[in-house]
């Protein structure tokens, strides 16, 4: 299956979903007005991936900003990962936040409490 590689824009993040490596990355800003339009292909990809995933999948979320419209879409992605995890696959979600960015840390913890997949909170030095 093909990987997804999308360059970031001021309103949308860099995306790298690599099937061979089992590596998923979202990096940058996610503040589009219409998040569903941006995230639908990613959710669909993950659905297809989960039919034949790697034994271990690592998801790196390295967002500087995301809007509430994106937050539901992120949850959709995490739910797909939760399903893979229930199916016996190893999934890890690395949630990055910049030093002192308590809001971003808290956002990660919100997801962590909703989604039954191991989250790792990683503080980045500025």
């Amino acid at each position: 299956m093909d990987s997804i590689l999308i360059e970031g824009t001021p309103k949308t993040p860099n995306v790298s979903f690599d099937h061979n490596k089992g590596a998923l990355l979202l990096k940058g800003r996610s503040i589009p007005e219409n998040s569903i339009e941006f995230y639908k292909p990613l959710v669909d990809w993950l659905e297809a991936y989960s039919a034949n995933p790697q034994s271990k999948t690592v998801c790196d979320i390295q967002l500087e900003y995301f809007n509430t419209s994106s937050s539901k879409c992120l949850l959709d992605l995490f739910k797909k990962m939760e399903n893979m995890s229930k199916g016996g696959r190893e999934i890890v979600i690395n949630w990055y936040y910049e030093e002192d960015d308590e809001d971003m840390l808290e956002a990660g913890e919100d997801y962590q409490s909703i989604i039954n997949v191991p989250f790792k909170m990683i503080e980045m030095q500025e």
Binding site: E64, T68, S71, K72, D101, D103, E106, D110
Partner: protein, 202 residues
């Protein structure tokens, strides 16, 4: 765009309004307005505003924590305007749709920023919207967190994509009650205004 004079519209000024007019006057008078705008909120406009404010905060050497908070809250405020403005009836001399909103961001006396928005909404949407705002304002920090998670994980989302999280998010990020007002203009239309202070130690 940067130095436009914000006007709140004739009808709104006529009423005995609490926060906005004097506050607006005071802030424009004391020259603390960073940017104000009245007009149609488009995707391109939002991008420009975010750019300008981000640059300005960098020029002012604001702490990263404050910058992020302001940016986040600003995104939600602008996208609320973008998604939820109701079409205004054509007024004298105008025809067709007018989706005008006002927006202003200024420095406040607590070393933070004040964001003010105003937009028309249909009066029949007012009651349910106001109920949501009242509920948000009745909750403490932990209860807001729970409400956010509840709305986040609820199935379905509004046709406009936001899912009703924007106001909860603003209340959480600012750590303050939402300061809002509705002015009833007619049976059909009301004017909604929101005044938000974003400070570092929220």
């Amino acid at each position: 765009m940067t130095n436009n004079t914000a006007t709140t519209g004739r009808k709104f000024e006529e009423r005995d309004s609490a926060m906005n007019i004097f506050d607006l006057y005071h802030r424009m008078e004391s020259n603390k307005v960073v940017l104000s705008f009245k007009g149609d909120v488009t995707s391109e406009l939002m991008a420009s505003i975010l750019n300008i404010i981000e640059q300005r905060m960098e020029d002012l050497n604001e702490a990263p924590k404050l910058r992020k908070k302001v940016y986040n809250v600003l995104v939600e405020c602008l996208q609320n305007l973008y998604h939820h403005i109701d079409d205004l009836p054509a007024e004298d001399g105008k025809n067709g749709r007018d989706r005008s909103a006002i927006f202003m961001i200024s420095l406040n006396s607590n070393n933070g920023y004040t964001i003010t928005t105003g937009n028309y909404i249909q009066t029949d949407r007012k009651a349910s919207f106001e109920d949501r705002l009242k509920r948000i304002n009745s909750l403490d920090k932990m209860e807001l967190k729970e409400l956010y998670k509840e709305v986040l994980s609820a199935d379905g989302r509004s046709a406009k994509g936001g899912g009703g999280l924007g106001m909860i998010d603003i209340a959480r990020k600012t750590g303050k009650k939402l300061n809002y007002d509705f002015a009833t203009l007619s049976d059909e239309y009301s004017f909604f205004s929101l005044n938000i202070n974003v400070e570092e130690n929220n």
